[in-house]
Structure formats: C-alpha cells, structure tokens
C-alpha cells in the first residue's frame, strides 16, 4: 500500500514539474473552477438574478412606465394615493389606471420606483465593496508584508472595529458624518474593512513564505513587484468570494440605515427609504412595504447565492 502511494506521489510530482504543463496550469485551474461553478445550481441561480438586476438597472428608463419621481395627480384620472396594485389583465376595472405594483403615498408609480431603485442599490453595493476591498486589503497586505509594530497597530484597530455590533457602529459613523447615501456608503465600508484586512493579511503571510516569492527575492525583484505581481494575484480567490458576499451585506445594511432615516433621503427611489416612508401605513397599504422589501431580499439573495457558488468553485478543498 505505502509503496503504491509513494509511486503515485512521485508520478504527480513529475507531472507537476513538467514545464509544458506548468504554463497552462493557471488556465486549466480557472476552467476547472468555471466548470465547478456551472455545476452548482444555486450559484447559477444567483448569477441569473444578478444579471437580471443589472439589465433592469441599465434599461430602467425603457422598463419603467413612469419617471420614478413623477407625481401622477393630473396626469391620470381616478388615481389616488396608496392605490393597491391594479392589472387590467387580472380583472382590475378598466376605469382605474393600471399600476402593476400600485401607487405610493405621494401618488407615484411604485413599479417605476422599484425598478429605478435597483440602480441605487447596485451602485451602492458595488462602491461600498470596492472601497472596503481596496482599503481593507491594502491595510491587510501592509500588515502582513511589513509585520512587526505596524502589523500590530493595524490589526488591533481592526479588532476594535470588530468589537462593536456593525450596524450600531455604522449608525455612529453616519451620525458623525451626517445622514445621506454617500455617508452611509462610507460608514458601511468602514465597518466591513476588518474582514478584508484579515483575509488579505492571512494570505500574504502564507504567500510570503512560499518558494516562488523566495525565488523572486533571490532574483532581486523590488518589494513593489513582489506585492503587485506575486502576492496580490495569488491571494485574489478568497477576496473575490468575500467581495461577492460583501455586496449582499452592504445592500442589507444600507437598507437598514435608510430605514432608520440615515441613508438615502426622499425623494430618491431607494428601497429602504421607500419602505420606511410607508411603514406606518403597512396595515392599510401593505403593498408599499412588501414590494421594496421583496426587491431587497431578491437582490441580497442573488449575491449570497453567487458568493456561495464561487466559494465552492474556487476552493477545491471544500468539494467532497
């Protein structure tokens, strides 16, 4: 048994050391990952949801029957605030104007607002994660690469951030900066920094000790080259997964802040604040709470599924 095993290991080592194989290895790794991703239904559903949402956001002006902030008083007849959904096809009387998701408290078409809301949420999720990713992984890379007291200072700062419940810290930061979508975005980026910093630092620490980095150092490569060309490309995998899941968290937390009145401000068509402004009418006009919330949930679900799918695909050790 043991002998067979050693033979097998030898075979693998020889094969791996074959230069021809080495050159196409990264390619086949990616192809393998792509195949693994496609095999998982949930990841593909997530991707489908995200692609669908991006299309909705891009083609919002074509899809939405009205402008998101257009007040329909005087534009249509028989339209009243908080009219429930009315679809002529499903037996809604012909004299009432058609509004698939109903009309909101300011007599605006809810469907158009939900459609335009996708632009806000996707942009916000994207920018928040980009900031957190760039700043967080830079801090982590510096901490891991330089080490010593700098490492200690950076990581203890991250610990203090993690010591707070994230939504409470975000509320405090928005209180300092003032309410608004941009400040909510910054606050969420700050509270999610530590995750990226920690992952990047762990990656850098592992890669720093690897033979190919030792080889680069021996060849006299400058530190910048080693970090940019050796360390970062090799630590991308977990960051990609984290960033995808991070978009979900960012959208959820931003909606929470908007719900509390600290994020997007009216009349901007943002799902969290749309929901917040009608929350006292939930018993009489539940559709105005239901649909924006459903939109948030579907978006967050899409990024969560996609993130899980990517993690399964990119980390072969998880596959059993």
């Amino acid at each position: 048994m043991t002998f067979d095993r050693r033979e097998m290991v030898d075979a693998i080592v020889t094969e791996a050391a074959d230069p021809a194989r080495l050159t196409d290895k990264p390619m086949s790794q990616w192809r393998l990952a792509m195949r693994r991703f496609r095999e998982r239904k949930s990841g593909m559903i997530g991707l489908g949801i995200i692609v669908g949402l991006i299309l909705v956001a891009v083609f919002a002006p074509l899809l939405a029957p009205f402008e998101p902030n257009q007040v329909l008083v005087g534009v249509e007849e028989n339209v009243r605030p908080r009219d429930p959904p009315c679809v002529h096809l499903f037996g809604c009387e012909d004299e009432r104007p058609q509004h698939v998701l109903g009309v909101d408290g300011n007599v605006r078409d809810e469907l158009s607002r939900v459609i335009y809301g996708s632009r806000v949420s996707l942009t916000l999720g994207f920018f928040t994660v980009t900031i957190a990713l760039v700043v967080g992984s830079s801090l982590g890379a510096i901490a891991g690469y330089v080490g010593g007291w700098l490492d200690n200072i950076i990581m203890r700062m991250m610990d203090v951030v993690l010591g707070f419940p994230s939504l409470l810290l975000a509320i405090a930061i928005v209180a300092v900066l003032g309410p608004g979508l941009r400040n909510a975005l910054i606050a969420i980026a700050i509270v999610t920094l530590p995750a990226y910093a920690r992952v990047m630092r762990a990656q850098v620490l592992a890669i720093k000790e690897s033979d190919f980095v030792a080889a680069s150092i021996a060849l006299g490569a400058p530190a910048r080259h080693i970090v940019l060309r050796r360390v970062i490309p090799n630590s991308l995998t977990p960051l990609v997964v984290l960033a995808t899941l991070g978009v979900a968290t960012a959208i959820l937390e931003a909606a929470g802040l908007s719900f509390l009145g600290l994020g997007a401000q009216p009349p901007l068509a943002e799902w969290g604040s749309m929901l917040a402004s009608e929350r006292n009418q939930v018993f009489t006009a539940p559709h105005l709470v239901f649909f924006p919330g459903l939109a948030i949930m579907i978006t967050v679900l899409g990024f969560n599924l996609m993130g899980d799918g990517l993690r399964d695909a990119l980390d072969p050790s998880l596959n059993k």
């Binding site: 203090v160 419940p165 929470g256 509390l260 929350r279 939930v282």
Partner: protein, 359 residues
C-alpha cells in the same frame, strides 16, 4: 480550568478599555453639541455656558475622559441630557426588554436552527436538504425590518379574528401591569439602594417576573407581544446556525473515527449522537456567540418596527440626539455584554474540547 478562566477574563480588559475610549472620542466628533440639540438652535451663549458647566462639558477632553473612566468604575454613568435622568435608571428600565428580546430570538434560532441543520446533513443531497438550504439562503437575505412589518401585517390584520392573531406593537397591552415580585412577596426594599435597583432591574424582565410570581395573564400577554419581534430577529441567526450545523456535521461524518465507530457496529443513532454531534458543535458555538452583535444591531431595527422601548432604539435616539452620557453608558454596557459572551463562548470551547483546557 480556573487558570484558563482567569487568563481569558484578564485578556478582555484592554478590548473593553479600547471600546470605551473610541466611543468617548467618536461621540465628541459628532457635529453639533448637546446644548443646541437640547435648548434649541437659538440658545444664547450664556445659557449654553451654564448648561455645559452643569453637565461638566466645558472641561478639556482628556479631563472629561478621566472623569468618565472614574465614573464607570464606580457604576455612575452620568445623567441623560435629554431625559434629565440617570443613565443607570434608563438602563434599568430598558435593558431588560432588549435582553428578553435577544434571548427569545437566540432561543428560537438555536432550537430551530440546530435541528434543522442536523436534519439537512442527515438527509444530505435529498429534497429535505435542498429545501432546508433554500430556506436558509432566503433567511439570511431577509431585511429584519421588512420581515417584522410583514409578520405584523399577517398576524395583526390578515389573521385578525382567528386564534392566531398576535399584537403588532408594544410590550404589554395597555392597562396590563406586571407587578414586581418583591411587591408580590412583600419585601421591604430601601428606596434608592443598590439592592433595590438590582431588584427593579430583575423585575423589569416582564416575562420572567410574571412567570415566577404566577401572574399568568400578564405572562401570556407578554409572551404574545414578544413572539413577532423575536421571530423577526431570529430569522437571520437561525439560517446561519442551520447552515453551519449542516456543513460542520457533514464534515465530521466524513472523518475516520466515524468510520471506526460504524465498523464497531454502533447504531447510526449512536454514531451521530455521541461521536459526531459533540465534535461538530464547536463551530456552531462560535457562530452562536458571534450572533450577539447581529442581534444587537437587529434589535435597533426590530425595536423600531414593533415600537419597543429597549436599549437598541434608545441608543439610536441618543446617537442622533447627541445624548453623550446615554451613548457612552449604553455602549459600555453593550460592549461589556459582548465581551462577556465571547468569554462564555471560549469557556464552552474548553468544555466541548478538553484539548483547549490543557494549553
């Protein structure tokens, strides 16, 4: 074991200190000052001077920090500028609600999440597994406030005249009063003493108080009011706990010692219960501990949706209203609770995994 407990407890102190200092500085970075927020934008300079003098806000920042540190050690958290009452008193009134809410939510999350995860793992790659995981995925993606509002609508309006109807807001029906146990039992407590305050704090856990004193009508009313907020708050932790339990149990079931146990002829039930479960619970315990932060953040939203006067909502009001003492006091208490829970998590590790004790 004792040495381990002591060492872990000492390690928590610097984290707590760091949090206190950060909160102190952060709150002073908030634009605007308590004087104009309380006395109005047109408050005269003399009025503000007098106000700051009275509240100790005209001292240099380091002095304020020093005074604050001293006060924390002596359990004096200052007075709320807004309510003109001691922060301690506000905590006595509001903390119990949040504790009961978080505990109810956590109980639901654990009691449903863990068995659900086990079920999914035992029926791996079946319809039960897929359905459970689909449910878990939807669960983690749900905005707490949306779920809360929808539950309120469903149980207070749609099911209005059915036995399933539940109240959508508040802690008790108006007019219902939970008589504190010390009054029921005729204890004489010295007004204003620490012991009296402690008893008041305990008695403000309405569900607990009405239970031990046998005020069943009050208890049932309180429980009915707690169901919707607790379920809304529990959903995300529940989904996370179910996922972790499933993946952890699946991983453990693939280990060699499970094969050994099976080879010995142990029944599948015994293999799962005594060999796999205990070993797979370690990550679950970590996750349960980590949920506390999520619960506190969620408590702000849940308490807003269900009109509950707990610490989450109070802290939000205090941050936006620049009520320094309340923000500081509440945050210190929350952070202390956080650190305490992490401590308990570590100690439960030592119980679940004897190897940690030896180190």
């Amino acid at each position: 074991m004792l040495g381990f407990i002591v060492r872990r407890t000492l390690l928590a102190i610097p984290v707590l200190l760091g949090i206190v200092v950060v909160v102190f500085l952060l709150i002073r970075a908030i634009p605007g000052d308590p004087c104009t927020s309380l006395l109005g934008e047109r408050a005269t300079e003399e009025a503000c001077d007098r106000f700051n003098e009275a509240k100790g806000l005209n001292e240099p920042i380091p002095v304020q920090l020093g005074i604050y540190m001293r006060d924390i050690v002596t359990f004096d958290l200052g007075d709320s500028v807004r309510f003109s009452r001691p922060v301690n008193q506000l905590l006595i009134e509001r903390l119990p609600l949040t504790i009961e809410l978080a505990m109810s939510a956590l109980t639901i999350a654990v009691l449903v999440g863990v068995p659900l995860g086990i079920l999914a793992a035992r029926r791996h790659n079946t319809l039960v597994d897929s359905a459970t995981m689909a449910f878990a995925n939807v669960g983690v993606s749900m905005p707490v406030f949306w779920l809360g509002l929808m539950l309120a609508y469903l149980f207070a309006i749609v099911l209005q005249d059915t036995p399933l109807a539940l109240p959508p807001s508040g802690r008790l029906t108006a007019g219902v009063f939970s008589e504190p146990y010390y009054e029921v039992w005729g204890w004489t407590l010295q007004e204003g003493s620490l012991w009296a305050k402690f008893n008041e704090f305990v008695a403000n856990h309405v569900i607990f108080n009405s239970f031990i004193t046998g005020q069943w009508d009050v208890w049932w009313d309180a429980v009915r009011h707690m169901v919707l907020p607790a379920v809304a708050l529990a959903t995300i932790p529940l989904a996370i706990i179910a996922r972790i339990t499933r993946s952890s149990l699946l991983e453990t079931m693939g280990k060699d010692y499970i094969r050994t146990a099976r080879a010995k002829g142990a029944s599948e039930r015994r293999v799962v219960r005594s060999h796999a479960l205990r070993n797979s619970l370690l990550p679950v315990v970590t996750i349960i501990g980590l949920q506390l932060g999520l619960l506190l953040g969620g408590a702000v939203l849940t308490e807003t949706v269900f009109n509950l006067a707990g610490v989450g909502r109070a802290l939000f009001d205090a941050i936006t209203g620049r009520d320094y003492a309340v923000v500081q006091g509440f945050t210190v208490v929350i952070a202390a609770g956080y650190v305490l829970v992490n401590l308990l998590v570590d100690l439960s590790y030592a119980y679940l995994d004897p190897r940690i004790r030896i180190e």
